[in-house]
């Protein structure tokens, strides 16, 4: 294939890959979704739906001013402005208009079906108890509620609907109060709820809204009204922006350093252009493959992808050094052919390691495995396509020549003392093993997220405290294959939680239990009234004895004799003022449905757990603990995968070199480099996190390349080229990814620390292993 045909192919390839990326670009950044497994599918799905559901998409705005009246007026004004926004699905400043009529239409005909235990007891009460009830009604009729009561009591003398209404009202407003139809807190702040259409984790969608809220906040502040916000949106946006800023900064610096190194060592912009194009093809192909396979790319895969630059750039660096110091007369393609075995073996071992990740149960590892494998294969193939861009001859620059000479001299000295090298190697291995044995692991996936700013945390806490809000990350849930099963479980859970609350394990809890009952429970409650012996007559008699008009309760008797209405279903609440509560607490799942119970003021989580564990199909969720459990499960699974990956690498190396010493010389640097990272973390008392493990996979990948390059070049004049390319590659990785270690984002910092330190360790370990283990007679460096 001619050089121009190769370049045409490169352009077409890049255009295709970038086209896919542009069309399918979607970034996810919830850490739990990266590590969820099939085994925890139901809990994980609920967890994910909760982070994406109506409650998570709701921003709470609290407005305070000198007077409650001013705060309420400002809230009305702000609500009006927000209602005009198309990125908000719903803005609520108070209970919706027509709430009473809607509740009455739904629940008054079903007052028997939703009667509580006390109401059901009244159905069988004796005359004195009924007369006491009549006196209470008569007393209430003397008060200001008389109009409404008088209108309903003829059909509902036991005031079952009034009791239900109080529960519904409490369920709808939670800990809030209302003032003239607006939400307010007990201490005089006005409250607004704004539900976004997009998930709070979609930073691009949320940025304009949050900017508008900031502008409105500044405007209201001039009038003495303070607007505070609570919600996941701002945290997610800040985290994503910080991660993007860091990734962009690191990428820029990384690219600048690589460019400077290319120019310094090779003095050729064409070599730089070839390297840049190869890298672009590798990264665009890996990104496109992941987007096609998974629909989105996790932000951590992106971060990992950025570090893949460190592995991919090693190929053009190796080619450039070889072409320059031991170039083939046929030009760059000839040089490429000469080092092809080293590149293919290096890439094959890395791909074997990545392919092992594909066997994992975790979607996040599938994504990383695919990204790494495709990136490396594409990087290698791209090198073949871009090779003609290199100049036909690439005379070594002075810097390159001096470096090559110094390295060759140093390596020759090491080779002259193989025993000392073996002793040093053994000492390093022993030291690393001793220190690495003290490695501890942290399963707290959330600790990898950017710590939110103290200001945001304080604002969130102030708003949550003012609202007496329930906990976001800890809640109970009941699961069922359908609503009937899930609601029956909710009915079993409710009294247990009430007992736990009475014993002080938690302050209170919210669920849909007051709004929805299983059809069986509704039918049973209906029966309790309809089959109570002569209930209408007994009420007529008892109430008449307390001054009620004869026949006043004939409508009640007629209702009791009529057919019961159909049971109320969750779907009946759609489009009613209760729809918001249902959307927040009823979560449809692939395998059925879950009803969530939010918890407030948890004092004894274990006691709440005991209350929940007694109900079949109920679970107590602690999102943080759940993610940690998933991660622990991941670690248990990933260990044999890593071992299998290392075994596969050994097999590939064995097939290529057919000598234990050569396999050890090629493979040992990777193990030593990874061990050095673990040992350093252990000595610093830092636990190993998920991102350190991702980084270690990368270290194994490029460190093992270094070993292979040296072993492949052991017998020819290209050893100096191999040594310089290893130094250049390691320095590139250390300088660029070492910077990542200073990122504010703990996940990126962990990745950077591992890759940066690992590359330096590999730089020392690979010549040491080669000097110590390669057969003496055949080692004749230039």
């Amino acid at each position: 294939m001619s050089a121009s045909a190769r370049l045409g192919l490169a352009a077409l390839w890049l255009a295709l890959a970038l086209g896919v990326v542009a069309l399918r670009w979607e970034v996810a950044n919830e850490l739990p979704s990266l590590v969820e497994s099939r085994e925890h599918a139901q809990l994980a799905e609920l967890s994910r739906r909760m982070t994406d559901g109506a409650a998570a998409r709701t921003l709470t705005l609290v407005l305070t001013a000198d007077s409650e009246r001013a705060a309420l007026a400002a809230a009305r004004e702000l609500a009006g402005e927000l209602r005009a926004r198309s990125d908000l699905e719903r803005v609520s400043a108070g209970p919706p208009a027509g709430t009473l009529a809607a509740l009455e239409a739904l629940y008054f005909p079903r007052r028997f079906a939703f009667a509580d235990a006390a109401g059901e007891r009244l159905a069988r009460a004796d005359e004195p108890a009924l007369r006491a009830r009549a006196r209470a009604l008569r007393g209430a009729l003397a008060g200001p509620e008389a109009g409404w009561l008088a209108q309903h009591a003829a059909r509902d003398p036991l005031l079952l609907f009034r009791t239900q209404l109080a529960k519904l009202e409490a369920a709808q407003r939670g800990a809030l109060e209302t003032r003239d139809g607006q939400w307010a807190t007990a201490d005089g702040a006005a409250v607004l709820f704004a539900r976004t259409r997009a998930t709070p984790f979609d930073a691009d969608a949320q940025a304009p809204l949050l900017a508008a809220l900031d502008a409105a906040g500044a405007r209201f502040a001039e009038r003495g009204v303070r607007v505070e916000t609570s919600g996941l949106h701002r945290f997610a946006l800040n985290a994503q922006l910080a991660a993007q800023r860091d990734a962009q900064r690191i990428s820029l610096i990384s690219f600048a350093l690589i460019a400077a190194l290319f120019v310094l060592l090779f003095g050729s912009l064409r070599a730089l252009a070839a390297g840049a194009l190869q890298l672009a093809l590798a990264l665009a192909s890996a990104t496109a493959a992941c987007l096609l396979a998974f629909g989105s790319l996790h932000v951590l895969t992106l971060a990992f992808g950025a570090t893949l630059i460190g592995a991919c750039i090693d190929y053009p660096i190796h080619l450039a050094h070889h072409h320059s110091l031991a170039g083939d007369a046929r030009g760059p393609l000839g040089s490429l052919r000469a080092i092809a075995p080293a590149l293919v073996v290096g890439a094959a071992t890395s791909i074997a390691g990545f392919a092992g990740l594909g066997l994992s149960d975790f979607p996040g590892l599938h994504e990383l495995g695919l990204f790494g494998s495709v990136g490396l294969i594409a990087g290698l193939a791209a090198l073949w396509v871009v090779a003609p861009i290199f100049p036909r001859t690439l005379p070594p620059t002075r810097a390159q020549a001096r470096l090559a000479e110094a390295l060759a001299r140093g390596y020759a000295r090491m080779r002259a003392r193989p025993r000392a090298c073996r002793a040093a190697l053994a000492l390093c291995a022993a030291g690393i093993a001793l220190a690495a044995a003290r490695t501890t692991f942290s399963d707290d996936v959330f600790a990898l997220s950017l710590p939110p700013s103290a200001e945001l945390v304080a604002e969130e806490a102030r708003v949550q405290a003012r609202l007496g809000a329930s906990e976001r990350a800890r809640f109970a849930a009941v699961f069922g294959t359908d609503d009937a099963e899930a609601l029956a479980r909710l009915e079993a859970l409710t009294p247990r939680l009430e007992r736990a609350a009475a014993q002080g394990a938690l302050a209170s809890f919210d669920s849909l239990a007051p709004l929805l009952r299983s059809a069986a429970a509704q039918a049973a409650s209906e029966r309790a009234f309809r089959t109570a012996p002569a209930l209408a007559e007994r009420i007529e008699r008892a109430f008449a004895a307390e001054g009620f008009a004869p026949g006043a309760f004939a409508p009640f008797a007629a209702d009791l004799a009529a057919a019961a209405p159909p049971p109320l279903a969750a779907s009946d609440l759609a489009g009613t003022p209760l729809a918001d509560a249902v959307a927040a607490l009823r979560v449809p799942l692939a395998s059925g449905v879950a009803y969530v119970v939010t918890l407030r003021g948890i004092e004894d989580f274990a006691a709440v757990g005991r209350a929940v564990s007694g109900v079949s199909g109920a679970a107590l969720m602690d999102q943080r603990r759940f993610a940690a459990e998933l991660y622990a499960h991941y670690r248990a699974e990933v260990a044999p995968l890593l071992a299998a990956g290392i075994g596969l690498v050994a097999l590939v190396l064995g097939a290529r070199f057919r000598s234990l010493r050569l396999v050890a010389a090629a493979g040992l640097p990777a193990l030593l480099a990874a061990g050095a990272v673990l040992a350093t973390l252990a000595l610093r008392g830092e636990p190993v996190t998920l991102l350190h493990l991702f980084g270690l996979v990368l270290v194994l990948c490029f460190a093992e390349d270094y070993g292979v390059f040296l072993v492949e070049a052991r017998a020819d004049a290209a050893l100096a080229a191999a040594l310089t390319s290893i130094v250049a590659a390691a320095l590139t990785t250390a300088l660029s990814f070492g910077l990542l270690a200073f990122s504010a984002f703990p996940a990126l910092a962990a990745l950077g620390f591992t890759a940066g330190l690992g590359s330096l360790a590999a730089l020392i370990a690979s010549p040491l292993a080669a000097a110590a283990l390669l057969p003496q007679a055949r080692s004749t460096p230039d």
């Binding site: 409650e68 009529a101 209430a140 009729l141 003397a142 008060g143 008088a150 209108q151 009591a153 209302t178």
Partner: protein
């Protein structure tokens, strides 16, 4: 231009215009009819303007200059009960927006309004915050009394259609709720009095029940 000026202008213009022979009789008839209608509309407008001024003046006179406390006796005629139920209590108002409606007998209860906050407590039970949108009966009573004593005609008109009838010093205000939910419970509220003080209040419930409140003379 006011409606009366507009009507005068139309009729004057018609008189001055030359009408051709033939077909002019019909045209003149139409012109007279239009003039008549315009004059009627203008008269009604003048009556509304005058009524507004009268109403505004009455509401201004009813505004409590300071704290007010009035005992009352409330009698409810309810279809549910054989006999009317009577209760005694105290109504207290402090400008601009604090109201207490307290029943002392037979069943003590207390309704408190402070700005937009409404709470209700009954003997032996904890006070609870009320959402008046869910308490149409109580809302009618609270709004009528507090808006009147605050002299807030605009607020009164937002919630009710207001009409005033006066006969010398005596007056009677009729309030028809605008809100449909409230109308389903309270069809009409009437307040009557003489001079600057309200003496009687009627709440006509939608089901035909009636509550009559007689206020004692101010202390």
């Amino acid at each position: 231009m006011s409606q009366s000026k507009l009507a005068r202008g139309m009729c004057a213009g018609n008189r001055n215009s030359e009408t051709p022979e033939g077909g002019s009789r019909r045209a003149r008839r139409w012109a007279r009819l239009l003039c008549g209608l315009a004059a009627l509309t203008a008269a009604a407008g003048r009556a509304d303007d005058a009524g507004d001024a009268q109403l505004a003046a009455r509401i201004a006179r009813l505004r409590a200059p300071g704290e007010v406390e009035r005992e009352f006796v409330e009698t409810k005629r309810l279809a549910l009960l054989r006999e009317p139920v009577e209760s005694r209590g105290v109504m207290a108002f402090a400008p601009p927006d604090r109201l207490r409606w307290e029943i002392l007998a037979p069943e003590p209860s207390r309704l408190r309004v402070e700005g937009a906050r409404v709470s209700f407590e009954r003997a032996g039970a904890r006070a609870r915050q009320l959402d008046l949108t869910l308490e149409p009966g109580a809302r009618g009573l609270v709004d009528a009394v507090r808006f009147l004593l605050a002299g807030d005609l605009a607020a009164l008109r937002r919630s009710y259609e207001v009409t005033l009838a006066e006969d010398g010093d005596a007056w009677r205000l009729a309030l028809a709720p605008r809100d449909e939910a409230e109308r389903r419970v309270v069809s009409r509220i009437e307040l009557a009095g003489a001079g600057d003080a309200a003496r009687e209040l009627w709440l006509h419930f939608a089901n035909g029940d009636l509550s009559y409140v007689a206020f004692a003379e101010p202390r």
